[in-house]
Subunit: 347 residues, 2 copies
Amino acid sequence: MHVYDLDTPALVVDLDVLERNIRGMAAHCAGLGIALRVHTKTHKIPEIAHMQLAAGAQGIVCQKLGEAEVMARAGIDDILIPYNLVGQPKVRRLTDLARRIRVLVAADSEEVAAGISRQAQADAVEVGVLIELETGGQRTGVQSPQAALELGKRVMDLPGLSLQGIMTFPSDVRAGPFIRETVELFEGAGLPCPVISGGGTGREATSKEIGCTETRSGSYAYEGPTRVTSNDDLDPQWCALRVVVTVVSVPTRERIIVDGGMKTFRAFPPNPYGLIVEQPQARMYGMSVEHGHVDVSQCDRRFRVGDKLSVIPQHQGMTTNLHDEVVGARDGQVKVVWQVRGRGKVK
Amino acid sequence: MHVYDLDTPALVVDLDVLERNIRGMAAHCAGLGIALRVHTKTHKIPEIAHMQLAAGAQGIVCQKLGEAEVMARAGIDDILIPYNLVGQPKVRRLTDLARRIRVLVAADSEEVAAGISRQAQADAVEVGVLIELETGGQRTGVQSPQAALELGKRVMDLPGLSLQGIMTFPSDVRAGPFIRETVELFEGAGLPCPVISGGGTGREATSKEIGCTETRSGSYAYEGPTRVTSNDDLDPQWCALRVVVTVVSVPTRERIIVDGGMKTFRAFPPNPYGLIVEQPQARMYGMSVEHGHVDVSQCDRRFRVGDKLSVIPQHQGMTTNLHDEVVGARDGQVKVVWQVRGRGKVK
């Protein structure tokens, strides 16, 4: 079946591009001599995570416990959750996971570490902990190497926890001094630090440069080795994800309406909405909830109701989260249908 | 159980506010003397649709066939799908629906009408059609009263279709002349026009003024009778939807991080991200995929990891679409858990 014969809107992954992106990133990290830990947020599909592991990744990252549970059920046994898990329901699920697989979790406060420790002690399991550093990302993380040291010592003292090192996001050269100083403080105090985890697709060399032992990259699977940030960078050669849509209205010569809108794509103004592969001169200029609004005034051809188009969405990982199913295709022919099993795991 | 004891992020509907909004809109439309057809996109929950029908709504609207199927399975028997349905899989599902319930569908081109007609004829059912007018919304719809007349005549000629009238979105006084002229042309040509459907929460009086027989309103269920468009308008008295989140990090005195981000909320820059009910001085100023970034520099109290907050999201209907489950609460106590059965119906 051709992808144009699918009911639309249909989320389609070009398998050739996906495989090339996976091979390319594995080779890139091998060349740098840094371990690759793949972030599965981009696809949320266990089958693709297994492809990435088979290509050489050392483990995966899941931002949500619910996504980690899906991946563990699919046989993946080394998962980092770089998120402060707070509250009894979550720490209980975490220790359940830790009983079955190697799990690492981040913490940036004693409250978070203590909550995990209490449950781990009650359940007689050990959970690996990375101290999260805020090295410029202005999000979570301890604010200084000294604070990292203090929290590291506390984690060493708390039962049920195993201090495994440190992490930050995103990897940036300015994070180098913070990381180096923290590592020195850890060494001086006799704290273990086998894992130094950095992240961000396109920042693998920086991760290596600032002393990380592993780099977390995710969006490369669908977006190519360099994260795209504007419509001009969207290149079908590297972008694996497409939304196949149908023209449902041709109200004027200049405007067509397709059956994919904000519930199908995740777009962020002021960025453009996506690249139309078959007609790059056509410009998606707006969206309502269920409609995409396309300016075709620069196109030579006339459009008709029923025409199919393939749109490369601007934010591929967030678009994935809106869909229950993804079709894998090669040369336009459907080869596989994957359930997006990690979709919608808000907890 | 108190909503603060739920695992987070948790989508919560205040049942008192919801019921007041539903009663208020029903009374508003009754007072105007216009039929109310409720748009279920806001909640996507059959149980709430039944509450709206019990309060006096004459039927519902679903923007997607998949949502209409969910609602029909739940016993709702009068559904308008104001969308051009194109392609064999969709028109077949439409005729399946038409066999069981009263279904109306929009069309703005002969191609759309002919596709439905072919399937309706093959399946020996009749489908009610409204001609969609583009009266300023710059989306779908025929461009002139004359074009509406021509398409109306075509619908009359096509087997399996029953011309039921016209529709537009949104209702606006500028649409009045377009509608009046179309109705006159229909009358002059002997075409039936029992339904004149307008829409948009807050536009009920305008719908009446421009001659509509029914008005489509949806967001009022969660957002109160007047659609809110900025953070200043978010009023807990009228906004039924809240996302209960947990503080997972207190990196600095000025910044806290909560466990709801872009995968939990649907926010559109440059609009603010939502109102924090317990601490209106706290300002959510940014989001990453799984984190909400909150400026608490103007708050008197100190925050701690584990604190719970209730956020009224800026776009309530789109936020709904990100969640599989909604909790109904009264005075903060959990009373019911609803599945968002219409969620994620991209087709």
